[in-house]
């Protein structure tokens, strides 16, 4: 259902020079960009995106679709996203299972949904509308969350699986988010992974988080931790080869450091695939 792009990184402004102007082409199979950062008319952002797209596959990862809001879909936003897709011809288009707008106002955050039948029906209907509008399948990413709602009746993994099945969309499995949410709410990460239908997973995110003692926060400002590496290995054993990438949005290290971390992803995925093939215990 989804092409395996290999191993990628999130494109960030501090690395533009290393990616575009360097004589050495970074050993990255593809780049993910934040869609909204490039929904502008011109200037350096669009120039960089054009240059990157000439050399690599690109995934557009949005943060503002607000698929779970009770507000109507933002047609202005969808029009800009459609135009960007037409220009970039991305390999993947994704956003988050969340909401961020209400009454025409935006919270600019990935707010959690109550996992209820009503929310499920709303998200399914809106994903279908978005896919019809964009004329392509999108992927929804599982969020990191810091609360659960009293009204919730469905486990998050099952909620994701049901949306993917009924709306015929893909899942962007953020392994760090699985870990963060499971730690924050006392969920079982293995049960979470077991609920995710393998054929629907089109991409995997890896990232770091911050432990505040009372909770984990999805800060993307640390290297991937051992527990998330382990969960990633389990995910690849279950899913098989998947487009995988590292997100880093704060305390961003030199590109060389992220490339070393990406090499770990490659090695771990190879190990997991060997286990999956029965070559390793």
């Amino acid at each position: 259902m989804f092409a395996n792009l290999g191993f990628g990184l999130g494109l960030r402004t501090v690395h533009y020079g290393d990616v575009i102007d360097s004589d050495v082409v970074p050993p990255v199979d593809w780049w993910e960009v934040i869609s909204e950062n490039f929904m502008v008319e011109g200037g350096n952002p669009r120039r960089i995106l054009r240059l990157v797209r000439e050399r690599w596959p690109v995934a557009l990862h949005g943060v503002s679709l607000s698929i779970g809001t009770v507000d109507p879909l933002d047609e202005h936003y969808l029009a800009q996203l459609a135009a960007l897709i037409a220009d970039v011809e991305p390999a993947i288009v994704s956003d988050h299972l969340c909401w961020m707008t209400l009454g025409g106002h935006s919270g600019h955050d990935l707010w959690p949904l109550p996992y209820t039948e009503e929310a499920l029906n709303l998200v399914v209907r809106k994903v279908q509308q978005v896919q019809d509008r964009l004329k392509r399948r999108i992927l929804l990413e599982n969020p990191s969350t810091y609360v659960t709602f009293s009204a919730s009746r469905i486990a998050e993994g099952e909620f994701m699986a049901e949306i993917a099945k009924r709306a015929d969309c893909g899942i962007l499995l953020d392994v760090n988010n699985v870990y963060v949410s499971c730690r924050n709410h006392g969920w079982d990460p293995q049960a979470y992974l077991a609920a995710i239908p393998a054929e629907r997973v089109g991409q995997i995110h890896l990232a770091g988080h911050t432990d505040f003692g009372t909770h984990l926060l999805d800060t993307h400002d640390h290297p991937v931790c051992d527990a998330v590496w382990s969960l990633y290995r389990d995910a690849i054993i279950k899913l098989g080869p998947r487009s995988s990438m590292i997100e880093r949005d704060d305390a961003i290290p030199p590109l060389a450091e992220l490339l070393t971390e990406l090499a770990n992803v490659r090695a771990l995925a190879a190990d997991a695939l060997a286990v999956r093939a029965g070559a390793l215990p």
């Binding site: 909204e36 929904m39 502008v40 008319e41 011109g42 200037g43 350096n44 952002p45 669009r46 120039r47 503002s64 607000s66 809001t69 009770v70 933002d74 202005h76 936003y77 909401w99 707008t101 209400l102 009454g103 025409g104 106002h105 935006s106 919270g107 600019h108 955050d109 707010w111 109550p114 209820t116 009503e118 929310a119 709303l122 969350t145 810091y146 609360v147 659960t148 709602f149 009293s150 009204a151 919730s152 924050n184 709410h185 006392g186 009372t214 909770h215 926060l217």
Partner: protein, 251 residues
């Protein structure tokens, strides 16, 4: 109102206004979202208005941003627009305590943000103008689309430059000025215009012929209007501030 709508309204009101949310959550801490809402908007707006933050200081700027987002909750899907109305807000009587200079500094910084990713256009080149020959009077001069004019009554352009250069920041003083902000390739620049340029600048938003430019300059410079027009034209060409799209129409 559906259950989902009520939940989202309760969540939104807690996060953005601190309203009660009794019984809403089963586990976790809603205050995490409230803190992230405030900090994300503060950081985005601070990123767009670094000189204003420098002058106001961290606490005063943070207080301003808080008052601003209460008055103008974000409506755009992009954080780029979170601080779009800050200059207008500062000019409004609702927040006049900070001063006109702050509004003008915000407007100058906002113009730079807008020019950063505005529409691309090739700049008019000197050789293209030279090739016009006798058609030069009909040449339409227009600023590149990635440009903006900022009218000032204070010296915030000097204040901006001093902060940027790390030199002593002058005290706020009254000064009637017009600043042209534009993007040169991928770099945003600005320059305080000479008085005669400032008179011409508004005409060149829509486009003015070289003849029309000379006519305006004649009211200030008399017989010296033509050499001054050529001097300004060269200055604008070298600065890559003129749009080349109208050359073809002139030729």
């Amino acid at each position: 109102m559906s259950e989902l709508a009520m939940i989202q309204q309760q969540f939104y009101d807690f996060v953005t206004k601190g309203s009660a949310a009794d019984g809403l959550i089963a586990t976790g801490d809603l205050k995490i979202y409230a803190r992230m809402y405030a900090s994300r908007l503060h950081d985005a707006i601070a990123g767009d208005y670094p000189k204003l933050q420098n002058r106001l200081g961290h606490d005063e700027f943070a207080s301003l941003v808080y008052r601003f987002i209460v008055a103008h909750p974000p409506q755009s899907f992009t954080l780029r627009d979170a601080g779009l109305k800050l200059g207008r807000y500062l000019r409004s009587s609702a927040d006049a305590s900070v001063g006109v200079w702050a509004a003008e500094l915000a407007e100058l910084e906002r113009a730079r943000v807008e020019c950063f990713d505005a529409r691309d256009a090739a700049p008019l080149q000197q050789d293209a103008v030279a090739a016009l020959g006798d058609a030069l009077p009909d040449l339409v001069l227009r600023w590149v689309p990635a440009s903006a004019m900022v009218t000032l009554t204070t010296n915030v352009d000097d204040i901006w430059s001093a902060i940027e250069d790390g030199t002593d920041v002058p005290a706020v003083a009254l000064a009637q000025r017009v600043v042209l902000v534009w993007r040169r390739a991928t770099t945003v620049v600005h320059r305080t215009l000479d008085d005669d340029e400032a008179a011409l600048a508004p005409m060149m938003i829509a486009g003015a012929t070289f003849t029309e430019v000379c006519d305006v300059l004649a009211t200030q410079h008399g017989e010296q209007a033509a050499p001054r027009a050529v001097e300004l034209l060269l200055r604008w060409l070298q600065a890559e501030a003129l749009d080349d799209t109208l050359v073809a129409r002139s030729v």
